[in-house]
Subunit: 198 residues, 2 copies
């Protein structure tokens, strides 16, 4: 199973992290993002969105990191990481949407501006970040994990861009419950980090 990967991408790290925690072997294929290789005709044929990561497993080709977590969890019957029970699956799904929505457009966009020089709207990204980090911190004041009382793919989807938020000029010092949650994730067997992570 190939993961077309960029080491500095939080979206790529979501998949590497979950694979490491769940003991799933990935063949990492580095893509030269700075040279624009993710927009090459070969990569666009795999992913018309022109983004990383891309997961390729036989005839299966996926372009979205949340979908990759769902795929791996269901493929290997990892019920604890993504239960098939309707209520439990939906509770995990809520956080997959949060990862694609507020986390993507908050901490991720702020970091794209500061670290990579993208000309996105930083004030909007900071507003979105402040809102979602406060909600996350409040939630984690009462819960050790985002959903279901144990680690799930929700934690793998949400944590990466939160833990590198300082690279977008966002301090996590005011969010002690978030920092404690990141530490809990770091203690999980098989954990791997990424550059820039708190």
């Amino acid at each position: 199973m190939k993961l077309y990967d960029l080491e500095l991408s939080g979206n790529c790290y979501k998949v590497r992290l979950f694979a490491a925690l769940a003991n799933i072997e990935l063949e990492i294929v580095p893509v030269d993002f700075m040279a624009g290789e993710h927009k090459s005709s070969v990569m666009l044929a795999l992913n018309p969105f022109g983004q990383l990561p891309v997961l390729e497993h036989g005839e299966v080709v996926l372009r979205d990191s949340q979908a990759m977590l769902v795929y791996l969890a269901r493929l290997y019957d990892l019920e604890s990481w993504l239960p098939s029970d309707p209520q439990q699956m939906a509770e995990v799904q809520q956080w997959l949407s949060t990862a694609a929505n507020e986390i993507q457009h908050g901490p991720n966009v702020a970091r794209l501006v500061d670290k990579f020089g993208f000309e996105f709207d930083k004030p909007t990204a900071l507003d979105i970040s402040a809102g979602i980090l406060t909600l996350l911190n409040d939630h984690l004041a009462e819960h050790d994990w985002l959903a279901l009382g144990h680690p799930t793919i929700a934690d793998c989807a949400v944590m990466p861009y939160v833990a590198i938020a300082p690279e977008g000029g966002i301090s996590l010092d005011d969010y002690p419950h978030i920092l404690a949650w990141i530490d809990r994730i770091k203690q999980l067997p098989g954990f791997i980090g990424m550059p820039g992570q708190v």
Copy 2:
């Protein structure tokens, strides 16, 4: 099963639409958004995010429209709308992420500015919209439905804000395959519309 609802919300409409297509009965509880009722203590106790819709079914309370689609599909074993096969579930998931990401921050934000006077960054929303509508149009040039060759919850998640994009100043005239797809959805048995829809 109660849906705390706002008629003019595309996120609420996602759930009403899927319930109508799948013949699921919902008790609609209108919430007075303009009066700020979604931020009342009662509503914040149900959803700390302070957003609509909220789905309440016994002890189950969900705050995210994609999660509600997943919940209903799994609860009623609607395999065709959300298959349990890993590859097929992941293909649907990709579009749930698109709904929470590009659709939410593209056509939805543009409409919030134009129709409701929110002070969000309209140029960014228009850029995101142009990108995702082009990708969607290209995809739908070769596929009748977003995933799996038949209607799924992916269509219910993505279509609502696309079909009301003109309310955010975004014409769909340049996207004929999107318009044809919306028409296909409208032909599904049980279809219901929402105000402002093309």
